[in-house]
């Protein structure tokens, strides 16, 4: 890379002012050496993503038009039959509904927890300073360990939480074993695992709220609630929007927490869409059906994400 080419690139980047050394000779259509280097640098991630996401996605759509059972065995083209089979399967729609509930309750519980923690992290003192790091520990612990930890705490024979609650007269029963409570019990465990990321991000966003504006509002007699809704919240909105979108998609995608604690049971009470697909492929060995269910789920998810972006995106001119 010669210095001349480099400066001409620098010149073309600052096209609105006089160039430092000599005017740019780059035509907009010709690739500068910087751009070639740039594309070379971007190539590896694109290669990985094409291989692991784009290619499998296309093959999932195709597989949905076939009738393969165990992965890798022979299959023939059956048109929309497999897709129709999934669409007419009531338990597929039930699992999607459970996924909706799973995402909404997870996001609500984690956002509330994250806000409470973020406000505490903002305070002065040694506790807040150290907590800003260790509060992330529940996320660092492997999911398999998280699932055992809570199964041990809530064990109906030897669990300490079970024991402590019984002492104050609350019979917990077996929260993961009852169809009516299992989903919410797993949601609480999953929220314990994931709230730290939201807490740290919200804490970071809170730190960008200008202190003097808040002081001025307080001087004018605004209460804490008023200050939050009129000043803090609008500033947080873009971060909350991104967090809500990414967090919802991450939550939707979660399989390990559920699978390791209840494996989708009891009586399908915790079978969300990912668990449904997973079981279809690896317990019932209907891989084409699982692929079709994946494609349909991705379509529903994409539509939900578009709606969220359409109606949830904060106005640009706040």
């Amino acid at each position: 890379m010669s210095a001349a080419a480099k400066t001409s690139q620098a010149g073309s980047r600052k096209s609105d002012g006089p160039s430092l050394i000599r005017p740019s000779r780059n035509k907009p259509t010709s690739l500068s050496r910087d751009s070639i280097l740039g594309y070379l640098l971007i190539a590896p991630i694109l290669l990985v993503l094409v291989l692991t996401i784009a290619f499998p996605l296309v093959s999932a759509v195709i597989s949905g038009f076939q009738d393969q059972r165990i992965i890798g065995t022979s299959s023939s083209f059956v048109g929309f039959e497999t897709y129709l089979k999934v669409i007419n399967d009531g338990s597929f729609w039930d699992s999607l509904g459970r996924s909706g509930l799973w995402v909404v309750v997870n996001v609500v519980v984690q956002t509330i927890l994250a806000f409470c923690v973020a406000f505490s992290l903002q305070q002065r003192g040694r506790w807040s300073k150290s907590a800003r790091t260790w509060v992330v520990l529940p996320w660092v612990i492997p999911t398999v360990a998280v699932s055992v930890i809570w199964q041990w705490l809530l064990n109906s024979n030897y669990g300490v939480l079970h024991y402590l609650l019984a002492e104050i007269g609350i019979n917990l029963g077996s929260p993961f074993g009852e169809p009516s409570t299992a989903l919410f019990a797993v949601i609480l465990v999953n929220s314990w695992h994931w709230f730290p990321l939201g807490a740290v991000v919200i804490y970071g966003a809170l730190s960008t709220v200008p202190l003097d504006v808040i002081e001025a509002a307080r001087m004018d007699g605004a209460g804490a609630g008023r200050i939050f809704w009129s000043i803090t919240f609008p500033i947080l909105q873009p971060v909350l929007f991104a967090l809500g979108l990414v967090g919802s998609l991450w939550s939707f995608n979660i399989l390990d927490s559920i699978y390791l604690i209840t494996a989708g049971g009891p009586i399908e009470a915790t079978t969300t869409a990912p668990v449904f697909v997973y079981d279809l492929a690896f317990s019932e060995f209907r891989s084409s059906q699982a692929a079709a269910a994946s494609v349909l789920t991705a379509l529903v998810l994409g539509a939900a994400a578009l709606l969220f972006v359409r109606f949830g995106r904060p106005a640009e001119n706040v």
């Binding site: 406000f119 992330v136 494609v295």
Partner: protein
């Protein structure tokens, strides 16, 4: 540091408002308990003997500390094999993910290649597709390229699922390095490659640490891919190995909890070493 509701300061101003401090102390105690109480319970349980651990009235401090659970774990299970596999996969993933995402972020946000915005969008979009829904076709893809039942497959998938978020995280770091540095280096005669290695990359160390921690923790925890794409016992990672141990020794809570403790310890240890950078980096990346 910015303080939203400031009971701390109020306390300095008037002694009466000492009462106002109570909610914040209560919330500090609650948060500490929520994070540490479950971990405390696992640690002390793992050191209890077989009789003490299943008492109907639990002891809050072991009457006698024993290493028996850990001895049984190390002698009668393949824990050390799983540990070795997990370390291999997680460290390799962290290294490759750093290289791949730093390269991509540099090309996208520093060299500003034409069409970079659209490429960045496509990378993020790819990231939004749930990995779980891809397990079935991924199985076929990995078989056809001969990677099924190998640790390389896990590294490849972990990189695919950590690099997009890492690239996005690095954006904040790269934007905070003044581009005047590049121009100065160019005037001094440094080419683009030298500018990248000698000017920008050294300043990107906190960002690289963040990405490395994120990728390491992701791979250390990853369960779904590891459970489906690796079937040989001697290649299994800790989450899979541990869940097999749990299935095999369901009644031996002591051994299971010792396994849980030793599975979370490496990740916790690494986090305590470099977690500060991770939290700082996450905040910088997310609020830029």
């Amino acid at each position: 540091m910015i303080i939203q509701s400031s009971p701390g300061r109020a306390f300095l101003e008037t002694p009466v408002s000492w009462l106002k401090k109570i909610p914040s102390v209560v919330s500090q105690v609650l948060i500490t308990l929520v994070v540490f109480a479950p971990m405390y319970w696992i640690v002390i349980s793992a050191f209890k003997g077989p009789e003490e651990i299943i008492r109907s009235i639990p002891t809050f401090w072991p009457e006698s500390w024993t290493f028996g659970n850990f001895e049984r774990l190390l002698t009668s299970t393949d824990y050390l094999v799983f540990l070795g596999n997990s370390l291999t996969v997680s460290i390799t993933t962290a290294l490759i993910s750093v290289v791949v995402s730093v390269a991509a972020a540099y090309g996208l946000y520093r060299l500003n290649v034409p069409g970079g915005g659209r490429i960045a969008g496509a990378i993020l979009l790819a990231y939004m597709i749930p990995g779980t829904l891809l397990i079935v076709p991924l199985h076929q893809t990995l078989s056809s390229i001969g990677l099924i039942d190998s640790l390389s497959a896990l590294v490849l998938l972990n990189v695919a699922f950590t690099a997009p978020f890492s690239t996005w995280l690095l954006r904040g770091f790269i934007l905070s390095i003044p581009s005047e540095l590049d121009d100065a280096a160019a005037i001094d005669g440094a080419g683009a490659v030298r500018t990248m290695f000698e000017v920008v990359l050294p300043l990107l160390t906190p960002g690289m640490a963040t990405v490395a921690v994120y990728s390491f923790v992701f791979s250390w925890t990853e369960f779904v891919f590891a459970s489906q794409f690796v079937s040989r016992q001697e290649l299994q990672t800790l989450p899979i190995g541990l869940s097999a141990i749990i299935g095999q020794y369901t009644v031996d809570w002591g051994l299971v909890l010792a396994g849980v403790l030793l599975t979370m310890l490496p990740a916790v240890f690494i986090f305590l070493l470099v977690g500060r950078f991770f939290v700082g980096g996450l905040i910088a990346g997310a609020t830029k």
